[in-house]
């Protein structure tokens, strides 16, 4: 029977504790850092050569769906009552609202070095040392809302602009496309500065600290964010039932995207799974 992913604001005190404890145990076992490594390794940008599976690509959504699913499996091996909650950043929008409480993600970073000092993932609590990263920093950092030059989280209207697009993705299937649900949700847009950071990307930048880097998985809010992003894919599917993941077929040999993206029935590294196999999750989990 499918399990349920809940809005983090609806977790009971016990559910919060069990979710946090499961995360800490997965970290203690050394499994968590493998998720960080995977995210760092699959970082290819679209101005370079090679297959892109995680970012600036149609498989942005199934790739992160699979990553969250694998983390959730690790959590449920520890405690089978646990699922990955989602953070609805269109509703919980301040540095002191959920999930930034001491019994969940902990709070903002301090001003001097952005170090998170509160909650279960603070370095000084002794359970959350960053072992994998693009820098030598060992403690979790955040800069919620970016104190030096503040900007706001995406709004429900921003999200709606993505959900309203009936087409999943369009050629050239990268960060430059201005049509299609995928990139409107992933959030690459033209322009300079914060006006060009949309939805998914904008939230990473709003959290700040390690969440803006390739090792963003080091902040456990990564999972709450991507659970909510994943929910948007489900909502989009429900709204546009005649539409599916694109491209359905791989780009041809003369196409600039040949060999660089994952079509619907192609394997999506590092896993032996296709986007097609990840479109319907209703037998594994559902969203409350």
């Amino acid at each position: 029977m499918a399990y349920t992913r809940k809005n983090v604001s609806r977790l009971t005190r016990t559910e919060r504790r069990r979710f946090v404890d499961a995360l800490l145990e997965v970290k203690r076992r050394g499994e968590y850092d493998e998720f960080v490594r995977t995210h760092i390794r699959y970082n290819t940008a679209d101005g370079e050569h090679g297959l892109r599976t995680a970012h600036m690509t149609p498989s942005f959504l199934p790739w992160h769906r699979k990553l969250v699913l694998e983390l959730e499996r690790a959590l449920r091996r520890v405690d089978d009552s646990v699922t990955v909650p989602y953070w609805d950043w269109t509703r919980d929008r301040t540095a002191t609202s959920l999930p930034w409480t001491d019994d969940l993600m902990g709070g903002n970073g301090r001003r001097t070095d952005r170090q998170v000092m509160t909650g279960p993932f603070a370095y000084r609590a002794g359970h959350w040392r960053l072992n994998e990263g693009v820098t030598d920093r060992q403690y979790l950092t955040r800069d919620l809302g970016r104190a030096r030059n503040p900007f706001d989280l995406p709004t429900a209207r921003d999200l709606e602009s993505a959900l309203a697009d009936p087409v999943y993705d369009t050629a050239p299937w990268n960060s430059t496309v201005t049509r299609g649900f995928r990139n409107k949700l992933e959030g690459w847009a033209p322009g300079r500065g914060s006006v060009s950071w949309h939805n998914h990307n904008r939230v990473h930048r709003w959290v700040g600290g390690v969440m803006v880097g390739g090792a963003s998985v080091n902040d456990p809010v990564f999972w709450l964010h991507h659970s909510f992003i994943d929910l948007q894919w489900t909502r989009w599917q429900q709204r546009h039932r005649e539409h599916r993941y694109l491209p359905a077929e791989p780009p041809g040999a003369r196409d600039s995207q040949h060999g660089r993206i994952v079509a619907r029935h192609e394997r999506m590294p590092p896993w032996d799974v296709t986007p097609d196999q990840l479109e319907d999750m209703s037998e594994i989990y559902r969203y409350e």
Binding site: R137, S175, S196, N201, G213, A215, S216
Partner: protein, 165 residues
């Protein structure tokens, strides 16, 4: 030591081309004095300059070939464009912060991003390097990344696996 401050207090926003660049450094005594002064205060003023949001001077256009070498917010940023022989279009940038390689990547629209600052992009390698510095905390240093399966991480000691212009 503060290099590339360019003789202007707060010149962390400016770039001094290295030897062979198109903008030779001034050689007069007055210039020297100004540089020394800038050296003393440049690191302290760089964050102020950054906060002013002046657009960066960008001689690091991939088509021209070039280098940059400056201190920005107390960090030494150096970049050099490396052209693969026989392929004029295959320009690559090797960028370091305090001597450690910064993994730069290029977007399809020609802009640049780094592994430190991964969810936005910048118009030049220098701007991306400054963006990375903005995200580094006090005493925080870049770490060498092992090459990824997708060819996405820098070669060891190579200062970047190569970004293709």
């Amino acid at each position: 030591m503060v290099l590339g401050v360019g003789g202007v207090p707060g010149g962390g926003q400016r770039v001094t081309p290295a030897a062979g660049g198109t903008r030779p450094r001034g050689g007069t005594r007055r210039d020297m004095t100004r540089r020394l002064l800038a050296s003393a205060v440049g690191a302290a003023l760089a964050p102020v300059a950054a906060a002013c949001g002046r657009p960066p001077h960008t001689p690091d256009d991939g088509r021209q070939g070039g280098t940059f070498d400056e201190t920005y917010r107390g960090r030494r940023i150096r970049g050099v464009e490396v052209r693969a022989s026989g392929r004029a279009a295959a320009a690559q940038w090797k960028v370091t912060i305090d001597g450690r390689p910064l993994h730069l990547m290029r977007r399809a629209d020609g802009s640049w991003l780094s592994m430190v600052d991964h969810y936005r992009s910048y118009s030049t390698p220098l701007a991306a390097a400054r963006g990375a510095v903005d995200e580094l905390g006090p005493d925080e240093q870049l770490r060498d990344l092992a090459p990824g399966p997708m060819g996405g991480a820098p070669e060891h000691g190579g200062g970047g696996h190569g970004v293709h212009a």
